[in-house]
């Protein structure tokens, strides 16, 4: 399946014809990674549908959108698993999932579960001045960072947003030199030091593995 990042951002991903028992209801920013894991592990019992990745910018919209998608699909699947962490909902997504009787990924956000929640929480005290990007966010840097922050129109605002950050950490899920290059360029644009860290899929893989 060929994925279009702009469609994942704006519309998400509609599930293909049902073949699996388990529906993964995910953030559009995770579609590439989940499909790569599905292929690599032969998880044919899982189908994937994604909500628009742009909810990353409006976390208050996530719980209601998840609820709507769960209610729409729950009769068709034995299990629905929500592939979101808290993602800025301040515990409201967890509460919504509990109310709906579905499980979700542990952790505060994808940066944490890609790093591994335990490892992320260990470095959190020293690394709270880091700004993180994943593969998807490097590719979609303008749509998720530069434009919504108004930096395309008002570059003078950059230091109001990023003045307290010290470095950009690119958490690489894959080894693609062009993404490394682009992430470095993103760091330069934000006036931050650059660090690339290969995380692979972290806790995302081990979590999805538990879904029989």
């Amino acid at each position: 399946m060929k994925l279009d990042d702009n469609i994942l951002t704006e519309q998400g991903l509609a599930s293909a014809a049902q073949t699996g028992r388990v529906l993964l209801l995910a953030c559009g920013a995770l579609a590439h990674e989940i499909l790569a894991l599905k292929r690599a592990n032969g998880w044919n019992h899982m189908d994937l549908t994604c909500l628009p990745a742009k909810f990353h910018l409006y976390p208050d919209k996530i719980p209601a959108a998840v609820e709507e998608a769960v209610l729409k699909n729950r009769d068709d699947y034995e299990q629905i698993f929500v592939v979101y962490a808290d993602c800025g909902t301040g515990g409201l997504l967890q509460a919504k999932c509990a109310e709906l009787g579905v499980e979700m990924v542990e952790g505060p956000h994808c940066y944490s579960f890609f790093e591994g929640n335990d490892a992320f929480s260990e470095i959190a005290d020293e690394e709270f001045t880091a700004f993180y990007l994943t593969d998807f966010l490097v590719r979609q840097f303008d749509a998720f960072v530069w434009k919504p922050m108004g930096l395309d129109r008002h570059p003078e605002l950059r230091d109001m947003y990023f003045g307290n950050y010290t470095k950009l950490v690119y958490q690489a899920q894959t080894n693609v030199p062009a993404l490394d290059e682009k992430a470095r360029e993103c760091a330069e644009r934000l006036g931050l030091d650059y660090e690339r860290r290969f995380t692979g899929y972290g806790d995302l893989e081990s979590t999805l593995k538990t879904l029989s």
Partner: protein, 233 residues
Amino acid sequence: MDEEDDIILSELPDDELTLQMHDDLYDGMKEEIDEGVNILLGRGWAPYRVLTEALVAGMTIVGKDFRDGILFVPEVLLAANAMKSGMSILKPLLAETGAPRVGKMVIGTVKGDIHDIGKNLVGMMMEGAGFEVQDLGINNSVEKYLEALETEEPDILGMSALLTTTMPYMKVVIDTLVEKGMRDDYIVLVGGAPLNEEFGKAIGADAYCRDAAVAVETAKEFMDRKHNQLAAG
């Protein structure tokens, strides 16, 4: 706009000038705001009047439109920069002319949190509303908050967090205040994107404030109650 359509601020009467300053603030036009402030001062306006009628009133419109989803963060920041610039002219004059002081607030982002845009907006709007604000900056430990409370003796403690991972630290601060028997000495207001009213109640804050305008309104209400209690006691 044609050159001949340019508005000459100094030629506008007071009422039109203040309305024009509201527009300029809305559009984040720092230089025009500075010019407007200086014109009004030159016409004999008291600094406090310039602050409230030209700047705070204009920023209140910005705040409402932000709340209603008409304006977004970049536009609010530009407006805030313009207001800050105007305030920097007024601040020394306000101190000289003895503007009314509504109360005092100590504010800072919690430990591990460097996101200070919301905190800075709240601080600025609180100052505009007549509060004295002691800004502790970012990444504040419980010890730093306690030290500031003891030395500054504020009426209000404001804590801000943008991250799900840092917001629980607010409870650490409040629990420490309770342990030390200091909790009732302060009005505790909390804010930040992932917070909500329920969270504010659960950690024992007096109120959760969803934006800078609400923070100002809430702070004023609590100060009124405090004064009423003192008067009754």
